[in-house]
Amino acid sequence: ARLRDSRPSQDARSDSDPTMALPREDGRSAEQMRPIFVKTGVISQAAGSAYVELDKTKVMCGVYGPRQGGPGTDKAEFDRGRLDVDVKLATFATSGARGKVAQGDAEREFSSMVHRALSGAVMTETFPKTAVDVFATVLEANGSELCATIAAASAALCEAGVAMRDLVSACTVTRNRRTGGADGAEGGGADGGADGGADGPNALLLDPARGEEAAAEAGVTLAFMCRLGEASQVVATGTWDGDSLDDAVQLAASGCARVDAALREALRSSVPA
């Protein structure tokens, strides 16, 4: 899918319209991302590695390969390589009780979402009969872990020298009910869809933190290749009407542009002069 505007959006819209500005828990505006930190070359044993922080969400990723694949590689196509993704959530990553070491379905689902986001970009025909392994660990989960993981994986793949069509960045936008509104305010999924209107009780939040994700009515995660202007994956949950979904995807694309810039900056500074 080709998206119209992938440049970072101006925050002017939210500044001029006071009903748009929603004070979020950490003081951000609705269209503001958290500070992004990217560092590559963090795992000495890996071919490529990266560490990404979206404020308190922390993910570390290591890429190995091309190398002999795990079980099942012989069944793969002879002219293409395999991209294997495995993401683990550390047992201390979430506040509250300690998580289980083997978390099963949630981790598998997460891994396959990261895999789908990257598959559009990785040129598997450049490493036939071998596999490239992308292993990530979420060290602290405070919202938008999927986006941080995809960003870390892109940077690590790039550092490992795996041929890619473009870097993949990802961003999530959630639709949350505005706080401080009247109790029993109407407008759930069916009624309140559009975000632009001053009367709408809902707001689109870019790069949600954990609390915002939990309280969201609906969300969309976009994995986007900024230079190519193509989306590799769009996952929408909850109910949306056409216009608000379009607005949400545009907002996510602007967030992706920022992530992309941060990734490129980190990769550029890691190349020896």
Binding site: A46, R67, A90, T91
Partner: protein, 292 residues
Amino acid sequence: ISSTWYWPGRRATMEAAAFKRLYPHEYYAKFISEGARPDGRPLARARPSSVAIGVAGTAHGSALVKVGRTTVMAAVKLEACQPDPDAPDRGFLDVVVEFPPMCSASTRPGRPNEDAHFVARRIEDALFDSAAIDKRKLTIKEGLWVWKICLDVYCLDHDGSVLDAGLMAALAALRDAKVPHVVVDDRGKITYGGRKTDEREPDEGKIEVAAAPVAVTTALYRKHLIVDPDAEEEALAEATVTVTMDAKGGKVVGMHKPGGTAEASETDLMHCVAACRLNLEARAKAVDGAFL
């Protein structure tokens, strides 16, 4: 850097990297015979270490330790639970060590790492044998509630001697941990919170860590003793010996030689203890340094 290497008996020459790949033992032996190692260290020198605390916001205590390129992260979470009826005044310490697949080329998802269990038990032994942790100090209300310390040690980058780094990380995380304030009412019900954090006295709500055990691993390779081996050296080693000593008091609290193809003589073991003593202060200081 490319240099050509001559393999005795052959006229062909080859690049160092290829030689290392094809004949790892001959490559390594060339360094050892000169009393040095591929990374430039003398045989008896351990790598420098660094410790940072408070790295995981979601845990009660955490630490990140680097020994050379080996990177280990430890996190402590405290849970209140019922004690064992046979030991109503003792809490629990549960140590779990994880080698996520990203940490080295040989770890794969789905296959539990054999070393993980070994490292976890050695860390546990070190903490109890040195009396660093006393389970009786973990009581909240005898017979009803005790603390369970969940200590998770994650190896983020495996470049050898994970046990050494893991123990340092575990210690630092335990010392960093802030014990949540709990109140037990007359009926035995427990509630968290109550007192504001700024009303706490400085040492209140901390786990008492009464000792500072430090582990130093030495590899045995063709009658040489290699202190603090990295991942490549560990792969070539015939055996490893890990000596644990308490920095407060200088006593040996543990020594382990998990099998291996070479035997260690008494002199070898004494040398390993000496290697531990030599590096004891530096490592203990690295942990203390994080709390300054």
